[in-house]
């Protein structure tokens, strides 16, 4: 299973119309596509950052469908042109190969927390194993659904952990439980010792808006 993301930044002068335009475009896509796309907005992280995500078994077919829509669907093209006026820059696409899930990770959850670590190639195996171990442990500790995925092309060697929640309140509550737990702290320390420092690490909390 693959997770596809398109990350965008809306202009501060056009936040509301940008969100409305994006939701309109994605609603149209969902009415004609074989795939289901969702729209996410920032809770913590850069305000105005929005994302569109979907999952697929075959990224080739998925990508071909998007390319065809971009060339041939005049309704979609008009909506893209409209929402483009509200963008602060060019969108960034990535595709993540999902290696491991715990809990109800494939169910659509209203709030997600994401940790992305960009790494050297030789750090990847250890980071994947450490992330899977942490995912299983956190799922057992708090019941949180966790997805572990990797990406290379378009992102550089990267490992993503994605946590699903019912609400922002649940993020707060479960984060507090985890950080007070000795087992979590041991794993976090072991991860740091075994894998080493990331080239870049980024975390965010997002709320689904469509």
């Amino acid at each position: 299973m693959y997770l596809w993301n398109r990350e965008m930044f809306l202009s501060p002068a056009h936040l509301n119309e940008g969100v409305a335009g994006l939701v309109d475009a994605v609603t149209h896509v969902n009415s004609v596509s074989d795939y289901e796309f969702r729209v996410w907005a920032t809770v913590l992280g850069t305000f105005g950052r929005v994302g569109v995500g979907s999952t697929c078994e075959d990224f080739g077919a998925f990508s071909d469908e998007m390319a065809t829509r971009g060339m041939e669907d005049e309704v979609f093209r008009a909506k893209v042109d409209a929402v483009g006026q509200s963008m602060a820059g060019n969108p960034e696409d990535s595709v993540w190969n999902i290696l491991h899930t715990t809990g109800d990770a494939y169910e659509v959850q209203p709030v997600i927390a994401i940790i992305d670590n960009r790494l050297e190639v030789d750090q990847m195996p250890g980071a994947v194993m450490g992330s899977i171990d942490m995912a299983d442990y956190l799922n057992g500790l708090t019941g949180t659904a966790v997805t572990v995925a990797v990406s290379q092309w378009g992102t550089g060697p990267s490992v993503r952990m994605m946590f699903g929640y019912d609400s922002v309140g649940q993020v707060q509550e479960r984060t507090a439980v985890a950080t007070a737990d000795p087992g979590f702290m041991e794993r976090a320390k072991a991860f740091q010792n075994d894998v080493g420092r990331s080239i870049e690490s980024r975390s965010s909390v997002l709320r689904r808006i469509a």
């Binding site: 075959d58 990224f59 080739g60 077919a61 990508s63 071909d64 390319a67 820059g89 060019n90 790494l119 050297e120 190639v121 030789d122 290379q152 092309w153 378009g154 992102t155 550089g156 060697p157 080239i199 870049e200």
Partner: protein, 124 residues
């Protein structure tokens, strides 16, 4: 335009596989040597790696070095018939022990923080 276009000129130093025409999809990687390493070590690694993947998996690859504007950079790009072709071949290569060993080795000479990768589809 949202910004200023960026031009570059690359010298092709190695090519693997048949290139009957421009491919439909290209996977592209550009990086610079790590401090204390040198460009030639990285080029030699790229040539050996692409030759290996070409022989083992029939991949089409090109190795380039950067000219003015991209000096001291190495570029490898691979051609594919489709995104599905890229997905299938990438999965096969990534599961290969020989490829994994070579990827481990390159971390001693390549600066991972400069690695820029992308997957692009030809539209004309």
């Amino acid at each position: 335009m949202h910004g200023v276009p960026e031009d570059s000129l690359w010298q092709v130093v190695h090519s693997v596989g048949d290139w009957p025409g421009p491919p439909a999809v290209i996977a592209n990687a550009i990086w610079r040597p790590i401090q204390g390493s040198n460009l030639l070590d990285n080029v030699a690694w790229a040539m050996e790696m692409t030759s290996y993947v070409g022989e083992a998996f029939g991949a089409r690859s090109v190795v380039c070095t950067g000219g003015p504007g991209t000096a001291l950079s190495v570029r490898v790009y691979n051609g594919y018939d489709s995104v599905a072709d890229w997905q299938e071949r990438t999965a096969a290569v990534a599961a290969d022990a020989g490829w994994q060993d070579r990827m481990q080795a390159v971390t001693a000479i390549a600066d991972g923080s400069t690695l820029d990768t992308g997957l692009i589809r030809r539209i004309v």
